[in-house]
């Protein structure tokens, strides 16, 4: 690029993306973005991954972002291209994933005219983006791109959308790369209040039954090491929410696994009986708290989160600390080491013993079978065979919960799932994005037969780009999670939850040029996994016909206190009926 030369909007956009370090775009072309696509035709630094649906493009960018921590970037056309991104954007927004989504728009003079393929995407996405822009003047473009990336990745990350009218992509101006961002109204608070942190340290010292509840913020802020130091130094057990999975090693003896609706008995018990909750980068989602009035009734709460609106939104908090989890924990750990002299091992002995008893009393289990494939068994086998060295993505439903329960995650960014929005169809494109970021890693989508069909067209994307994503389909012939609720709460009236027609996934995979494998008996599971995960070096669908009657346990009925759990062993007992009645 020569100095003093005027550039078109498309050239400026590409140049800005390069300066932001973008190597991959996920997208789909159309009329108003053709000038930008034309620039990409022979660009050597940026490669566009052509998905088969714009939703797939956003989820792929999202998977890329969750796997790397870097922003995922999407480029699509106006109108239907733009509206197809909405589910993906909402998914990323709920889980605080940094994305920059660039949508083409009809020329500025046609905006508001109901022009061909016009959609008010800025209006549509206003509530599900962290921020969005309509660029009306090519002179603003570089500043907007810079601000978009800045907003997407800083503070509590999130998706940012840039709507780019066609005339702006051809308009010419001098390219000026802004060195700094202005944004007077945007100043995320990173450092926690020192006095509050000090108070927190003393509360931890005084607590006899403390629990750490770690959420996605631990992973986003990179506080893995700091969390471990806090937990191990002060001997506090850690439960990781669905979004926090991988933020603390599940093989550590202080790990309690996941809390909440399908959480472990011991995590929920520990929370309910605790005298101090240390909530880190989590937002007390209703799937975690159950009935909020009876959540952690005897605990004081320290809440550390970068987003002030997350604090005191749905539970009372004693020590609110707004700040970046990693930075706050660094100070907290230091304070605990210098200002607090406690015999931690001694102080915590009784509490850790209690937790150990709960772990023994009701571990996560399922009934093994020689006759039918248990979905939990497939997940356990995946863990056993990979030894945890893989990136697991999930779809939504029972498959997602079993993937969370029966695999042990020890490192951040090894578990990628749509938590807040619970988007079926997320896992496969997300796996494609993660695989693109880590070509040599084993990337496995643990899927349901319903969910996989929501973005199954992305088989083409995976095959074309030689991305050896492994899809494990826990095929129960049902929208299993829906069926589970219908069985438990709607007298087994399976209203429209049986899929009736499930395609032959092996043939579907083969039709796209991927490999397909099937297991129908427990004895075949290991062989199919070994073949699919390790021998076959391309995209694979592994179809496991699993026991359709299987349910996810423990389960806290929606709206009940979290220690009000149903267990598989209750199925035979009158106990279950009693517990269900209390809820209804």
């Amino acid at each position: 690029m020569k100095a003093g030369m005027k550039l078109t909007g498309s050239e400026i956009l590409i140049e800005c993306l390069k300066r932001e370090g973008v190597k991959h775009l996920f997208g789909y072309p159309g009329g108003v973005v053709l000038n930008i696509f034309d620039m990409l035709y022979d660009d050597k630094d940026i490669k566009l991954i052509l998905t088969r649906h714009e939703q797939g493009a956003v989820h792929a960018a999202d998977g890329y972002a969750r796997a790397t921590g870097k922003p995922g970037v999407v480029l699509v056309t106006s109108g239907p291209g733009a509206t197809n991104t909405v589910t993906g954007i909402a998914t990323a927004s709920m889980d605080s994933v940094p994305l920059v989504v660039i949508t083409g728009q009809v020329p500025t003079m046609l905006i508001g005219n109901d022009a061909f393929q016009e959609a008010d995407i800025v209006g549509i996405t206003r509530p599900c983006t962290k921020h969005n822009f309509l660029v009306k003047d090519v002179n603003d473009l570089a500043v907007v791109v810079k601000e978009a990336f800045h907003i997407a990745v800083t503070g509590r990350p999130g998706p940012v959308l840039i709507d780019l009218p066609k005339d702006v992509t051809v308009g010419k101006t001098d390219f000026v790369w802004p060195e700094k961002v202005g944004l007077p109204g945007y100043k995320p608070k990173l450092e926690g209040n020192k006095w509050m942190i000090n108070q927190a340290a003393h509360m931890i010292e005084k607590a006899r039954k403390p629990v750490i509840v770690a959420g996605g913020g631990v992973i986003i802020s990179g506080a893995y090491k700091e969390l471990r130091e806090l937990a191990e130094h002060t001997q506090v057990p850690v439960t990781t929410t669905l979004m926090g999975i991988g933020g603390f090693p599940e093989t550590n003896k202080l790990s309690l696994g996941m809390p909440g609706m399908h959480g472990t008995y011991y995590a929920n018990k520990a929370i309910q009986e605790s005298d101090l909750l240390i909530a880190l980068g989590m937002r007390f989602d209703d799937r975690v708290t159950g009935k909020t009035d009876s959540f952690a009734p005897t605990a004081s709460i320290i809440h550390i989160d970068i987003d002030p609106t997350s604090i005191r939104k749905n539970v009372r908090v004693d020590i609110p600390i707004v700040g970046d989890v990693k930075r706050v924990l660094t100070v907290l750990n230091k304070t605990l080491k210098t200002d607090v002299k406690a015999q931690w091992g001694q102080v915590r002995k009784a509490w850790l013993k209690q937790i150990d008893d709960w772990k023994k009393e009701r571990p996560l289990t399922y009934t093994k079978s020689e006759a039918t494939i248990k979905p939990q068994f497939v997940v356990e086998k995946i863990y056993e065979l990979t030894k945890g060295d893989a990136i697991i993505t999930t779809e939504v439903g029972q498959n997602q919960m079993w993937a969370a329960q029966f695999y042990k995650y020890d490192v951040p960014r090894s578990f990628i799932t749509s938590g807040g929005l619970g988007t079926m169809g997320f896992g496969f494109p997300a796996a494609i994005g993660a695989q693109l970021a880590f070509p040599d890693k084993l990337v496995i989508d643990i899927a349901g037969d319903g969910s996989i069909q929501m973005n199954i067209q992305e088989l083409a994307t995976a095959v074309l780009n030689k991305l050896p994503v492994k899809v494990v389909i826990l095929n129960n012939g049902f929208l299993g999670m829906v069926r589970q609720w219908q069985e438990l709460f709607y007298s087994e009236r399976y209203s429209y939850s049986r899929l009736d027609v499930v395609p032959d996934f092996v043939k579907v995979a083969e039709a796209y040029g991927a490999a397909g494998l099937r297991a129908t008996k427990p004895s075949e599971v290991e062989d199919v996994l070994k073949e699919g995960l390790f021998k076959i070096k391309k995209t694979v669908f592994m179809d496991f016909s699993v026991d359709w009657k299987e349910k996810v346990y423990p389960m806290v009925p929606s709206g009940a206190p979290i220690d009000h759990m149903l267990f598989e062993e209750d199925e035979v007992k009158e106990e279950k009926k009693k517990r269900l009645k209390v809820v209804k």
Binding site: V122, P127, L134, G185, Y186
Partner: protein
């Protein structure tokens, strides 16, 4: 409880819908909202009157603060401040009540800005109590039309946070 919140925002397209969308999307209500340019036309000043318990008001101010285009949020309810609203009211008094209307307007320091054979259009400015009182007095006179600006508010000098 009712709160009056003032906002300094970037004078950019879409800001108003971001703010009103935040209220509607989260189920908060807006009793009144007024917007005008600041001295520097790059910024606008807004006054929003809303209501809710302490936790809701806390959420509202935090959520407003979170918006990228919002630079400053002040819940002036907590501080010494001045609030004003203007109304323009068109009344149709019976002939024998005309003088009374004019007298009342005078007492409220209102101004008659238009009149016709059987209407007076009166402008009155004041705080909520005064405005409500004036409307109350005009009711029996026959109100044909009434428009109000919504409140604007500013902190008293020397009482800043």
């Amino acid at each position: 409880m009712r709160h009056t919140i003032t906002l300094l925002v970037e004078n950019k397209f879409g800001v108003l819908s971001r703010i009103s969308g935040l209220f509607s999307g989260r189920g908060y209500n807006i009793e009144s909202l007024s917007v005008g340019e600041e001295i520097d036309p790059e910024y606008s000043q807004m006054t929003i009157v809303t209501s809710g318990d302490d936790l809701i008001i806390e959420q509202i101010t935090k959520q407003l603060n979170k918006l990228v285009d919002v630079i400053k949020v002040t819940d002036v309810t907590e501080f010494e401040h001045v609030e004003r609203e203007m109304i323009i009211i068109k009344v149709t008094p019976k002939p024998e009540k005309k003088t009374e209307v004019l007298n009342l307007a005078g007492i409220f320091r209102g101004r008659v800005v238009d009149s016709s054979e059987n209407t007076y259009t009166i402008e009155v400015t004041g705080d909520e109590k005064k405005i409500e009182a004036f409307i109350g007095l005009m009711k029996p006179m026959g109100i044909k039309d009434l428009v109000r600006t919504g409140k604007v508010a500013i902190l008293r000098e020397g009482y800043k946070q």
